[in-house]
């Protein structure tokens, strides 16, 4: 029953918010629903922590891994909803483009993402993952500009094709399970598959084939290079709160799906094959995205490529395996989402005040917009992995694992790309912040909704960078235990 | 006795050809909600033309005069190749399908020469277009027949038909379906039917086959018209024999022959209906699109040949 609450609240919230035509009432309803949603998610997490895995029926299940990602969803969606309430204060009524549609679509989006994390059945996982694409497509194309429509179309097309390949992979895994003697009705259930995995490993070809298709398919949603073509466009053209949701939550959900499959395949055929694939994709994504960061001209595209790079880092952490690697990867999903949200919120302020996101038309921000500049500095330092921010901890964990496994090639590439990214961000941000202000923005004061969430995010980054809270660390350990 | 039946088969094909043409014309008229001419009209036309005077352009040479004769002769030879009621025909064991294809080509070649020789602009235009269409149609024609021949392990028509007769109707193989599609397209191109050529057009700029026959009159025109009708009937009969010959007489008895004849009439009727529907339903392709049409036929027949390798594996 507890598991159903988050889903029901999100679903009902979507319909309820749609009914309020007055934007302010709709916003308040949305915030209220958001609060209820976060509360129900916290309850679920707490219950899983107390009592172990919860299961409802055959299709919904919450274990340590799901609850970890649910915390991620809860935290970021809370920040995003609060930020959006202020961001949308100027948007009027339009077909699919008014605040109530925005919030309704956001809640629908949240519903699909929570379902992804709560599904026990790989088929349901697929259905809901496709649902996330559908739910967010209209959000990406929210502003009816040329860029937004093009980005939305590309997003829809590329991700649907990718997900179709993931469906094929799911089918092949189902076939492998049925051939290994599993009951067809249970052959898509994750727990049963984990139990039966050693039997499936007797015919490794099918399982490996399944994993290849799954990593290509869900990897499209994660943003692995070379399937990433939709990501910079979608994250850049979407409204800022949606960019934050996409970068910080959706990519993590897709990674969650890959983690589930990785667990099955590792139990079946040993972890060499899937982890090698993850390492390859991770390294390539990191390198390509890191290099492309240098030549970006749009602030949000810069951050989108940074998301690709960090997804690569998480994949490297997963691919290395081991206790430190897995810990680092899981922690990094959370840390990255907080830092990326902070960055996107600052970018939203920049756009709101300067009217553009082209970095060469903005300068002198430190004088005209001190608070946003501070947020940018904090976010930028965090995202490149410098102490005392939290991303340093998770990246350090992954690097240590790489050292322990004597993978010096990976270590070298990692450090080189980190330096390159640091240089790129420093270059771009210094140009934004320094120099003479070339245009006076209308008002540089932040409204409460904006500075509160940015403050919370920055605080979280600093606190987690100082010391990972014990409770949080325990939750990560529980998540890791699920994957063994 | 067999020879008598073979001669009967050839006569059916040759004499029944104008009737086939008449029925197709009547069906098209019925589909297009017109009255349409009687189905025996082509016979009346042939009789009328035979009575008329044969006018020859002053600049024409002997090629112009003997082209219709060569065309009719080649087409009658082709008709002698095709089995109708039993799995053999007059010439069916004397030559393989290459001979059939190139006999048709011989007739067509002479007709084109005659059209050139006639000296009119439309004749030359029709002849050059016909050259393009027939060049492109040759590949799918041959490849389609090659595919069937590979499966049947026989190169002569009689052998192919015998092999097909022995197959189970319900085991239609991919090769046959693909070969049938491409050969059907080739039949449309070779016999000058829509969508490649409009046999009832009166606009000279759109004519291919009609353009070549434009300068002829009297008995020569009768021979050309008859030859084109025989060509259509023979190719339809070829399609039936290669892809749907079940019901052919296996013994030389009146009853078996009668039944086989009835079945043949039914199959030809089916093909005629199909042809009428296709002709009424499609617009004529513009000339630069005809290579695309025949390109599709070529690809389908190439695929049929490739599939024979897969089947044999």
């Amino acid at each position: 029953m507890i598991l159903l609450m988050p889903l029901l609240i999100a679903l009902l919230g979507a319909f309820v918010v749609l009914g309020f035509r007055n934007p302010r009432v709709a916003t308040r309803a949305a915030l209220l629903t958001g609060g209820l949603e976060i509360a129900s998610l916290v309850v679920v997490v707490w219950q899983v922590h107390e009592r172990g895995a919860l299961q409802v029926g055959r299709y919904l299940r919450a274990d340590g891994l799901s609850s970890f990602f649910l915390i991620n969803i809860a935290f970021i969606s809370g920040l995003v909803l609060v930020y959006a309430s202020g961001y949308l204060r100027h948007t009027g009524e339009g077909r699919f483009s008014s605040p109530r549609w925005f919030y309704a679509l956001v809640f629908w989006f949240l519903f699909t993402m929570i379902s992804v994390c709560l599904s026990a059945n790989l088929g349901l996982l697929w259905i809901m993952m496709e649902g996330t694409t559908l739910a967010s497509a209209l959000l990406v194309g929210f502003y009816n500009t040329e860029g937004a429509v093009e980005a939305g179309w590309k997003y829809l097309m590329v991700c649907t094709v990718g997900i179709a390949f993931a469906l094929f992979g799911t089918i092949v895994l189902y076939l492998a399970a049925v051939k290994a003697g599993m009951n067809p009705a249970a052959a898509l259930d994750w727990v049963s598959l984990m139990d039966a995995a050693p039997r499936m490993g007797l015919d490794p070809h099918l399982v490996k084939l399944a994993f290849v298709f799954v990593i290509v398919g869900y990897g499209t949603k994660i943003g692995f290079v070379p399937m990433h073509s939709w990501l910079p466009d979608a994250h850049a053209e979407a409204p800022t709160p949606i960019s934050a949701l996409l970068s910080a939550v959706l990519l993590n959900c897709a990674m969650y799906a890959v983690m589930r499959y990785d667990a099955i395949v590792s139990h079946a055929t040993g972890s060499a094959f899937p982890h090698t694939l993850l390492l390859i994709f991770g390294v390539i994504s990191m390198v390509v995205a890191g290099l492309l960061i240098l030549v970006q001209r749009n602030l949000k595209r810069l951050m989108a490529y940074s998301s690709v790079e960090h997804m690569g880092i998480i994949a490297i952490g997963l691919g290395l395996g081991g206790p430190l690697g897995l810990f680092g990867a899981l922690l990094h999903t959370f840390n990255h989402s907080v830092a990326k949200s902070l960055l996107f919120f600052s970018a939203g302020n920049v756009r709101h005040n300067f009217g553009t996101l082209r970095m060469d038309s903005i300068s002198g921000m430190s004088r005209t917009m001190p608070q946003t500049s501070a947020a940018l500095v904090v976010g930028g330092l965090a995202i490149v992995g410098l102490p005392p921010f939290s991303l340093f901890i998770s990246e350090f964990a992954i690097l240590s694992e790489a050292f322990t496994q004597a993978r010096y090639f990976v270590v070298t590439l990692f450090l080189v790309i980190l330096s390159v990214v640091f240089g790129g961000f420093a270059y771009h941000f210094l140009r934004l912040l320094g120099g003479e202000p070339n245009s006076v923005p209308p008002s540089s004061k932040l409204i409460p909704s904006e500075y509160s969430v940015m403050g919370i995010a920055a605080l979280c980054l600093i606190c987690f960078g100082a010391r990972v809270p014990h409770l949080f660390s325990v939750l990560v350990q529980e998540a890791m235990a699920v994957l063994r | 006795m067999k020879i008598a039946i073979n001669v009967l088969q050839a006569l059916i094909l040759i004499m029944g050809a104008p009737l086939v043409r008449g029925i197709i014309g009547r069906l098209k008229a019925w589909i297009q909600r017109r009255q349409g001419a009687s189905i025996w009209r082509p016979y009346a036309d042939l009789a009328k033309l035979l009575r008329k005077e044969d006018l020859v352009p002053p600049s024409a040479s002997w090629v112009f005069r003997c082209a219709p004769i060569v065309l009719l002769g080649a087409t009658i030879a082709v008709a002698a190749f095709v089995p109708v009621v039993q799995s053999s025909a007059l010439l069916a064991s004397r030559g393989d399908f290459f001979l059939l294809v190139y006999l048709l080509a011989l007739g067509r070649f002479f007709l084109s020469l005659g059209a050139f020789d006639g000296g009119s602009a439309f004749g030359g235009m029709g002849a050059s277009r016909e050259a393009l269409v027939s060049t492109l149609a040759e590949a799918p024609f041959l490849l389609g027949l090659v595919a069937v021949a590979i499966l049947a392990a026989h190169a002569d028509i009689a052998g192919m038909v015998t092999w097909t007769l022995q197959q189970n109707f319900f085991n239609i193989s991919a090769v046959h379906i693909l070969a049938f599609t491409s050969l059907a397209m080739v039949v449309l191109a070779e016999t000058g039917r829509m969508p490649v050529d409009n046999p009832t057009t009166h606009l000279e700029l759109t004519m291919i086959h009609e353009g070549m026959a434009l300068e002829y009159s009297g008995p020569s025109l009768a021979l050309i018209e008859w030859a084109s009708a025989v060509k259509l009937h023979a190719m339809l009969a070829l399609l039936i024999a290669l892809f749907g010959p079940w019901g052919m007489a296996s013994s030389v008895s009146v009853g078996a022959i009668g039944v086989a004849l009835l079945l043949y009439c039914a199959k030809v009727a089916l093909l005629m209906v199909l042809l009428a529907v296709i002709e009424s339903g499609m617009a004529k392709l513009r000339m630069y699109l005809v290579p695309d049409f025949l390109g599709v036929a070529s690809a389908v027949s190439a695929l049929a040949v490739i599939f024979t390798m897969l089947v044999k594996r």
Partner: protein, 220 residues
């Protein structure tokens, strides 16, 4: 019911050939409506295959799935497409970047490729080679259509053909997945098409054309 037995036997043994024919004809079609009709025929063939499988394997679920395929893919989606073409008031030609002759040869090469791929993998899985090759060919053709057709509507159709191929692969290897999952997949496809339809309207309104090859503002 000897006739039904024969019919199912025939459907199961030779349907893949007709699928190849629809593939070849679809890549040369010059009008959107022709392509949509061919897709409808394709889906009808697949629905027949589903029914035949259900009859032979005595699976009640297969009949439900077959009925769903029939209703959704043979009737509903093509009709939606036709209505979309009408309301978009766009020129009805398929903006192909390859000529019909090139397209059909590429399609023939893809069919051969799918046979080659299936032959090497099909040994471990005991399925009729034809059916699996047909599904792989459908997937490859769907991808080819998406890449070579410049109209947004044709890209949607390519996606549908791709999904048909995946569905057929599932059908031939595992006789279909659990019913709930199949229904969910159908629902997703429908929703996806709905959204893509909305987006084509937006593209048309913003750009005044439906040529996706001209959507190249965002680069780098």
């Amino acid at each position: 019911m000897g006739l039904v037995e024969i019919a199912t036997g025939k459907v199961l043994s030779s349907f893949s050939v007709f699928l190849f024919l629809t593939i070849l004809l679809m890549v040369v079609a010059r009008r959107i409506s022709t392509s949509v009709l061919l897709f409808s025929v394709q889906s009808a063939i697949i629905a027949a295959e589903v029914f035949a499988t259900g009859f032979r394997e005595r699976l009640a679920e297969a009949y439900v799935v077959g009925a769903l395929v029939l209703v959704i893919k043979v009737v509903f989606i093509p009709r939606a497409f036709f209505r979309l073409v009408d309301r978009l008031k766009t020129p009805r030609d398929v903006k192909a970047s390859t000529t019909p002759t090139q397209s059909v040869f590429i399609a023939a090469a893809l069919i051969y490729l799918s046979y080659a791929a299936v032959h090497s993998y099909g040994q471990s899985v005991h399925v009729p080679e034809d059916a699996l090759a047909a599904s792989v060919a459908l997937i490859l053709t769907g991808a080819f259509l998406m890449v070579s057709r410049n109209k947004a509507l044709m890209q949607m159709l390519g996606l549908l053909v791709l999904e048909n191929g995946i569905f057929l692969a599932a059908l031939t290897t595992t006789f279909g997945m659990p019913l709930v999952i199949e229904i969910g997949v159908f629902f997703d496809v429908l929703m996806g098409l709905l959204l893509m339809g909305i987006f084509t309207f937006r593209i048309r309104d913003t750009f005044d054309h439906l040529d996706v090859s001209k959507l190249r503002r965002l680069r780098g």
